[in-house]
Symmetry: C2
Subunit: 297 residues, 2 copies
């Protein structure tokens, strides 16, 4: 069976040193010191009826009030019995509830400010040294893909695959956080600076991306139907410590990260013959992994 990507490349390489390394090789060999552990209250666990779990990392450094809302909703059981009600091909999967009768749990601000950008001050971003179609400055900060504008002094998360944002009504509504979407196709960068991004899926994106597409306009499911029901949503910090999943991201300031980016932009190995000398922000995602069992938590 022919492969598009070379599983067999690793086998061949083992027999014929020195092997040309891949981005995955670089990530796999990054030292423990290059990884940053994500706090347990920044991991949201979405459990689906019939099994399956999707884990979202929250981004309080970029959308603090929306994230605080989402944390309060998780702690308050707001999403128990909510659904995935929209799956639009090459766009987004959207879930949650906006049941006015239900009322928000204590601590939720129903009309958050526009957290579409934040101050650049306080961040020390690492630039991606290749042109971007949307912004003069793109790269990474605090483990997130980011665009920024030094003149205005602002920075914003970018709509890459698996990023999670806050559904909203028409401008100037900002969304409270009860309805969320994940990007499941080509990066929807046109949404940057127009809507609040609040996290990213770090595990179980296929529980959203592989669902049947909704048949109504915008991929909405027919009234009264849904793609999947959510049993409950909790923060990892609500679980007993031994049961908490733990994740780490590769620090953008580490030499391993720089080597990873360079390799993403310059593939040349048993499969790739022509390195292109560039990569776009959303095609060089921040590596995230399960915290190894032997690693300090």
């Amino acid at each position: 069976m022919r492969l598009l990507l070379a599983a067999s490349a690793f086998v061949l390489a083992a027999a014929a040193p020195p092997p040309a390394s891949t981005p995955t090789d670089i990530v796999n060999s990054a030292p423990a010191s290059a990884w940053r552990t994500i706090p347990a209250d920044e991991l949201m666990l979405i459990e689906f009826e019939g099994g399956g779990r999707t884990i979202v990392q929250l981004a309080p450094a970029f959308a603090p009030i929306h994230v605080a809302n989402m944390q309060a909703m998780a702690r308050g059981g707001y999403w128990d019995g909510a659904t995935v009600y929209r799956v639009q091909e090459n766009y987004v999967a959207q879930w949650g509830t906006n049941d006015a009768k239900k009322g928000f749990p204590a601590g939720v601000r129903p009309k958050p400010p526009r957290e579409y950008e934040r101050r650049l001050a306080g961040l020390s971003p690492v630039s991606l040294p290749y042109p971007d179609s949307y912004s003069r400055h793109v790269g990474y900060a605090l483990g997130w893909p980011m665009a920024w504008d030094p003149k205005r002094g602002t920075a914003n998360l970018t709509h890459c695959y698996a990023m999670v944002g806050v559904g909203r009504d028409l401008f100037p509504d900002t969304g409270a956080g009860g309805e969320l979407y994940a990007v499941i196709g080509q990066a929807t960068r046109q949404l940057d600076r127009n809507i609040a991004l609040a996290g990213r899926v770090v595990e179980g994106i296929e529980n959203l991306s592989a669902l049947p597409r909704g048949t109504e306009a915008l991929g909405i499911y027919k009234e009264g139907t849904f793609a999947r029901r959510i049993v409950r949503v909790r923060l990892a910090s609500q679980l007993p410590e031994a049961q908490r999943p733990s994740f780490q991201y590769l620090d953008e300031h580490s030499p391993s990260f720089a080597a990873y980016i360079h390799k993403r932009a310059n593939r040349k190995d048993a499969f790739y013959e022509v390195p292109l000398g560039g990569v776009d922000l959303c095609n060089a995602p921040v590596p995230v992994r399960r915290t190894p069992a032997h690693s300090a938590r």
Copy 2:
């Protein structure tokens, strides 16, 4: 129910003229003269067991020998009973067969040349006026997304969402065309100039993108299992004329196309408040539609 994208925007706009137009508005109002009909022998119809059909437009101007192989395989029934055997999250869905015992139909060249690029001469591309991370020159020609290099005099199709390529073994294999993949995630532009692109899915991509992901390395299904079986693959030209599906693409030289691109890069309407002033090649796909019933075929 809150929406990420404004279905309700159209309703509001009808009540409050003048509405700010969207890219879809522009495409929907493009005159008949802006559309080009795709020839029937450049449409490959993949019918799945249990229902569902995926339609691939072929790109003979870019990979003539691979496309001729695929046309011969379709006419020869080579893929009858083949499977979708690989579905890799945020990467590709791959289908076909490489059964050496089966043998290729007459007319297939088992070792095609590298059709990863073609001569730029003979094309009159329209530039996308925004920076690209991979190539100095990107845009559109003959209804396809393309990158090019005037110095080398070469042009290549680009790995955007739904583009279809030819699976191959390690370099220098080029793949015969019996195994094909479609991009089902963030554009895999690193594959540009490294593998033959031969078409794009114009309808039914969800029959590939919404499948359960394969559990083995690279999204391969477990040995002896598969995501979906293919009943048969035919060219539209093999069907009686009245049964042929017909598609059109928006001519990149038309004023409507220019307006569409400009609007994709500058969203501002009831939902979008901040136009970004740019768009990337794969986020501004060539509009394709079913040929209207009243239109000349």
